[in-house]
């Protein structure tokens, strides 16, 4: 444990000490003046500094007294330190805003972000050593969530962007999730039967994989561009189909999702021992019963693992689809890029990362559960 914790703590300290904690700019577009942590802590209420110290103390406690309890409190300490640091930033921002013009913005600097990143790494390392480490998400993020709900963090530039973009953000988030789910459904409906067929007929396998691999290599923006023409032509005949918007985005996402799903279906079915299939038929199970009760059940964990890859990939790709008018969190990211407002970019990017991590976790849990349900046989 020390091998990982010590260097990470060193990086966290360096981030706080050497890199700017905050940046203060006259307006939204300028990069602003760096403000180091010493000044920031000084501008903020001492209460937060105490909380910060307490959090850090709990965080490093396991180094001196290892054990499950100190590990849980370490997670809580990370959460408190994160929240306190954010609150200090917000406090300082409020002071600076009072002194400057209404257009002035204070945003978190590279030091604050790096500090937060190392803290999260430390926490995840600690959580890994605990039995229900996944529940560690609660102590780490609850204090931050509480501050967000109370509005303590409102003076920060990131939150001010959110305040303005509130409705657009909600809509974009919903669109993003809808795009991902809307693509996973058809991808499963097409990919799983295709995988089953490919596993059975070698000729199909020889054709399908090269084609799917080729599709994967096409850059997403290029694929969107390629789809505009044919879909627009199709749209003249079928209402609701058009070259831009949700339809091409979902179509492209489905195409990209096919390879992992087909590949994992084939792999999962390949993993069924031959004797087991023969035994099932010899017992008198019909082909359908054999497939459902034996093949499909045994292949399920591998398929779920493939779905994990698919879902995470889809979350990322859906961000690009904003470029063809499909909406989603990508619209916020690109808006920020065009307006050169970096906090807007972060406002769009953080939820995408969170969604990707959430999708990964959900499917990891599902895969592990399915393996356990099969008695650890697969």
């Amino acid at each position: 444990m020390r091998r990982v914790q010590i260097p990470l703590l060193a990086v966290a300290a360096a981030a706080l000490g050497l890199l700017p904690f905050l940046r203060h700019a006259r307006n939204r577009l300028l990069s602003g003046q760096p403000i180091d942590s010493y000044v920031s802590f000084g501008l903020a209420s001492p209460l937060w500094t105490v909380g910060f110290a307490l959090g850090l103390g709990l965080l490093v406690l396991p180094l001196f007294r290892p054990g499950a309890l100190t590990r849980w409190t370490s997670l809580l300490g990370a959460g408190i330190a994160l929240a306190a640091a954010a609150a200090i930033g917000a406090n300082a921002a409020a002071h600076l805003a009072a002194a400057g013009s209404p257009a002035a913005r204070t945003s978190l600097g590279s030091g604050a972000w790096l500090f937060a990143a190392t803290l999260l790494l430390l926490a995840s390392d600690t959580a890994r050593r605990l039995r229900f480490g996944l529940a560690g998400l609660v102590p780490v993020f609850a204090p931050l969530a509480l501050l967000l709900a109370l509005g303590t963090l409102a003076p920060l530039s990131l939150l001010r962007e959110y305040a303005v973009q509130h409705d657009a953000f909600r809509a974009a988030f919903g669109q993003h999730v809808a795009l991902v789910l809307g693509a996973l459904g058809p991808a499963l409906l097409i990919g799983v039967p295709l995988g089953v067929a490919a596993q059975r007929w070698a000729a199909l396998r020889r054709v399908a994989f090269p084609v799917l691999n080729l599709i994967q290599t096409i850059p997403s923006i290029a694929l969107f561009g390629l789809l505009i023409g044919p879909l627009a032509w199709l749209g003249t005949m079928i209402p609701g189909v058009s070259g831009i918007g949700t339809v091409p985005a979902i179509l492209a996402l489905v195409l990209y999702s096919l390879l992992p799903i087909v590949r994992n279906t084939v792999e999962g079915l390949d993993g069924v021992p031959r004797g087991v299939r023969t035994a099932a038929r010899a017992m008198g199970m019909s082909p359908a019963q054999t497939f459902l009760q034996v093949d499909a059940t045994l292949a399920l964990p591998v398929l779920l693992s493939g779905l994990r890859v698919t879902a995470v990939q889809a979350v990322g790709l859906a961000a690009v689809s904003a470029l063809i008018g499909a909406g989603g969190l990508g619209a916020i990211i690109f808006q920020g890029l065009f307006a050169n407002a970096l906090d807007l970019v972060i406002l769009g990017a953080l939820p995408v990362i969170a969604l990707a991590v959430a999708a990964d976790l959900v499917f990891r849990l599902l895969t592990a559960w399915s393996r356990a349900a099969l008695g650890g046989a697969v």
Partner: protein, 305 residues
């Protein structure tokens, strides 16, 4: 009476329910490009039309120019604000000098699009959002720069350092047109070239003096110019094409909603360059909400209750 059986009554009711009703107009789909000004203009259109009792559907921030053009041609969008000068690219007439004239350019694109695509270009706002060069405020004051002629003089003296996109530097309609009209040529060490066409980045660079630049590629109605204390050089010889924002509407949508031109005309007429710059500034620099800025301005002008 035999013919009034249940089946015929049911059939007639169903037919009546399913038949397209000529009096209920389909909502007008209003789109816009991704950038700040496009979103502002699109929002103004939406609010004005809604106040005028026309049902609308928002498709703002749909994508870049190419996407919007494809959308309006295919009917995915009924109306979006486009620049008169872009007609040169839609109809492959980049070298036609008529685009540098305010009225002639508008007339040409109006005629071309009406004939070829049944698209109507409504009267544009008197704001020229064309390419320009904005100089760092301190440098402009020090060197007494206010027009492109002054800039040319300064550039020849070796004082200027411009940051621009590759497209701006290479496109015959952009920097080369300036250089030809005003008789100057920027040397390689007087140029910093960025990959993308983001004027927010170039303007920030000129304002902060990043990499020693003191002049930036800019658009005529950029909101950041005033906020960053930059000075836009006046194009007195009209070297650039004119880009005035005009609502482009599908003729079919116009026929269904003939009140659209009357509603939009006063709003667009009031959007001159200075106004547009101020409004853009409130959104891009102050970070205010587009809808709030639009409705506040419309109310100020008495175009919204």
């Amino acid at each position: 009476m035999a013919f009034l059986t249940r089946r015929t009554v049911l059939g007639a009711a169903t037919a009546a329910a399913l038949a397209p009703r000529a009096d209920a107009a389909a909502p007008v789909k209003v789109g816009s490009k991704l950038d700040t000004e496009a979103a502002l203009l699109g929002t103004i259109v939406l609010q004005v039309l809604k106040a005028g009792g026309i049902p609308t559907e928002s498709r703002l921030r749909l994508g870049p120019t190419k996407i919007l053009r494809a959308a309006i041609l295919s009917g995915d969008v009924d109306l979006y604000p486009e620049y008169t000068g872009n007609g040169a690219f839609f109809f492959n007439q980049e070298s036609n000098p008529v685009w540098k004239n305010v009225t002639q350019g508008y007339d040409l694109v109006r005629r071309l699009d009406a004939d070829a695509n049944r698209l109507a270009w409504l009267p544009p706002a008197p704001a020229n959002n064309t390419w320009g060069i904005a100089v760092n405020g301190d440098a402009a004051t020090r060197e007494k720069l206010s027009s492109m002629e002054d800039f040319a003089r300064w550039a020849k003296a070796g004082g200027a350092k411009l940051v621009a996109s590759a497209e701006f530097v290479e496109s015959p309609a952009a920097l080369p047109a300036f250089q030809a009209a005003y008789g100057f040529k920027l040397a390689a060490d007087q140029l910093v070239i960025l990959a993308g066409g983001d004027t927010a980045a170039t303007e920030r660079a000129a304002a902060e003096g990043i990499s020693g630049v003191n002049a930036a590629m800019a658009y005529g109605t950029d909101g950041a110019i005033a906020a960053l204390d930059l000075r836009l050089m006046d194009d007195i010889k009209h070297a650039q094409m004119v880009y005035e924002p005009s609502p482009v509407v599908r003729q079919a949508a116009l026929d269904a909603n003939p009140s659209i031109p009357g509603l939009l005309a006063p709003a667009f007429a009031a959007l001159d360059g200075a106004t547009l710059r101020t409004l853009n500034g409130r959104i891009a620099v102050d970070g205010q909400d587009v809808a709030a800025v639009a409705s506040a301005w419309l109310k100020e002008k008495g175009l919204l209750k």
